[in-house]
């Protein structure tokens, strides 16, 4: 097939969003400063860390959604001293309130939303943790302000362990191909699912599928230069093929039909199934879209014209994928 590595690398440069991004860093720093200055004296001391896809090196520019910045706040508290897990979240909310119109206590974080031109442009999610527990583990504060008591609780969580696992799975250039492949799949998701509702898999669910044996490094050694030559198309193709085979076909009580279903557990506490929020029908729909993607990738394999191969990839990933062409043969022309 056509060598599309240059195109894939350019595509990756177009979509990748990492912690180096100044705009995102600025937003984060402003809020952290605000938090530091305004947090009440009642509040415990804390340290901060970056979490989420930027910290993992798998972030991409959003398509229609807003930018999502994830910050972890580790409070030096023992969860057993805070029967109400929402209490430390209120410290954060109250310190940041007034800065913008929207500061909300959500189930798993405190979210600050920035508006631009009447719609949400950024949001910063502060996850609140208790980090001075008798068992030495870290716990995240779950629940909203007015949730029933059973929905306000501490849950074991290890976001930094997760980042470490993802970052240390491969090293050097192999790790770079791993991260690129995750970004390609996330971009496909962003381009092919609407941002509303839970019908799309989460970015972390796709990341864990790749991490958990769907991805394998695809490279060959150039015998002349002895350098590794990476083949991102093949790495992606294999990864999608493996994701497809992770689905199992079984009866769904809820949908009253046969459905393709998938599960993948977080490799750190709380070891939850990352597809648990999708219904059987939604997973079945995901399966058919994965199948469609695989057949499009097969189509790309069969193309001999660069423009046609790129056109299919634009359809899969959006306009960020470059459309290159083969050398043109202009011939002659006769007009009268």
């Amino acid at each position: 097939m056509i060598d599309l590595q240059k195109e894939f690398i350019e595509f990756h440069d177009n979509i990748k969003l990492d912690d180096e991004n100044q705009k995102l860093r600025d937003k984060r720093e402003i809020l952290l400063k605000k938090l530091k200055n305004n947090i009440s004296d009642e509040a415990a001391s804390y340290t901060t860390f970056n979490q989420g896809s930027y910290a993992m090196g798998t972030g991409i520019y959003p398509e229609d959604e807003d930018y999502d910045i994830d910050v972890g706040l580790k409070f030096d508290i023992n969860k057993d001293d805070y029967d109400d897990a929402v209490e430390p979240k209120k410290w954060v909310r109250d310190a940041l309130d007034g800065h913008t119109k929207h500061v909300d206590i959500k189930r798993s974080c405190v979210t600050v939303t920035y508006q631009e031109n009447g719609k949400s442009a950024y949001h910063v999610d502060f996850a609140v943790y208790a980090n001075d527990n008798s068992d030495g583990k870290m716990y995240i504060a779950k629940g909203k302000e007015f949730s029933d008591k059973e929905y306000r609780y501490w849950e074991e969580s290890d976001p930094q362990g997760l980042i470490k696992l993802i970052k240390n799975k491969y090293s050097g250039d192999d790790a770079a191909q791993f991260r690129r492949t995750i970004r390609y799949i996330k971009k496909w998701k962003t381009h092919n699912f609407s941002s509303v509702g839970d019908s799309a898999p989460t970015g972390i669910a796709l990341t864990i599928l790749a991490y958990d044996s769907c991805f394998s490094v695809n490279k060959t050694t150039d015998w002349a230069t002895k350098k590794s030559v990476y083949d991102d198309f093949s790495a992606l193709h294999t990864c999608i093929k493996n994701i497809k085979s992770r689905f199992s076909y079984s009866w769904s009580e809820l949908a009253q039909q046969m459905c393709y279903k998938i599960s993948a557990n977080l490799p750190v506490a709380p070891y939850s199934n990352l597809f648990s929020k999708m219904t059987d029908k939604q997973m079945d729909e995901l399966y058919s879209r994965i199948t469609n993607m695989l057949s499009k990738l097969d189509e790309v394999k069969g193309k001999t014209k660069r423009s046609e191969a790129c056109t299919i990839l634009v359809e899969l990933f959006g306009e960020e994928f470059p459309v290159t062409v083969d050398k043109s043969i202009v011939g002659t022309s006769e007009s009268a």
Binding site: V314, D326, V330, S333
Partner: protein, 158 residues
């Protein structure tokens, strides 16, 4: 300037510098000899559009008389290669243009035969090949679809 093929809504966007160049031919038309060249641009499948970014103008080896323009490969192929390389391999051959001594240009039989032949070429990168005739008052654009010649409509107010 934007043009649309109303059948499958393919949009041809013409860069301002190309449009200006076309209008210098409209304004300076002297009825002595015909001019022509190739159309060069990029493909934008995400928007179902093609962008015309450059054209070539007559080269010495082209045959130019009062009623015909026979474009040779010389010069045009080289220019095309340069645009291709300089654009990171994005720019491609998109078709042909030539002048007519007509207010509102109409393709001749020779033009039509030529266009059908060019559109059939297997090595075209673009699914759509465009043909432009510069008249003494108007510029008209056609494309070929299923062996039929289709005139593009100008999209106003863009």
């Amino acid at each position: 300037m934007r043009y649309k093929n109303s059948i499958d809504n393919i949009i041809l966007e013409i860069d301002e510098q190309v449009e200006k160049l076309f209008y210098t031919y409209v304004e300076n038309y002297d009825f002595a000899v015909e001019s022509g060249g190739i159309l060069i641009g990029t493909l934008n499948p995400a928007y179902n559009s093609v962008r015309l970014t450059n054209i070539t103008e007559p080269f010495p080896k082209d045959i130019r008389t009062q009623y015909e323009f026979k474009r040779s490969e010389d010069g045009h192929q080289n220019a095309m290669n340069n645009f291709w390389e300089q654009s990171n391999f994005r720019k491609t051959y998109l078709g042909e243009w030539h002048t007519h001594n007509q207010k509102i240009p109409q393709p001749s039989h020779i033009d039509i035969k030529n266009w059908l032949k060019i559109s059939k070429k297997k090595n075209n990168n673009s699914e759509w090949i465009f043909f432009i005739i510069i008249g003494t008052e108007e510029i008209c654009i056609w494309t070929i679809q299923n062996k039929k010649i289709i005139k593009l409509e100008r999209i106003e107010n863009y």
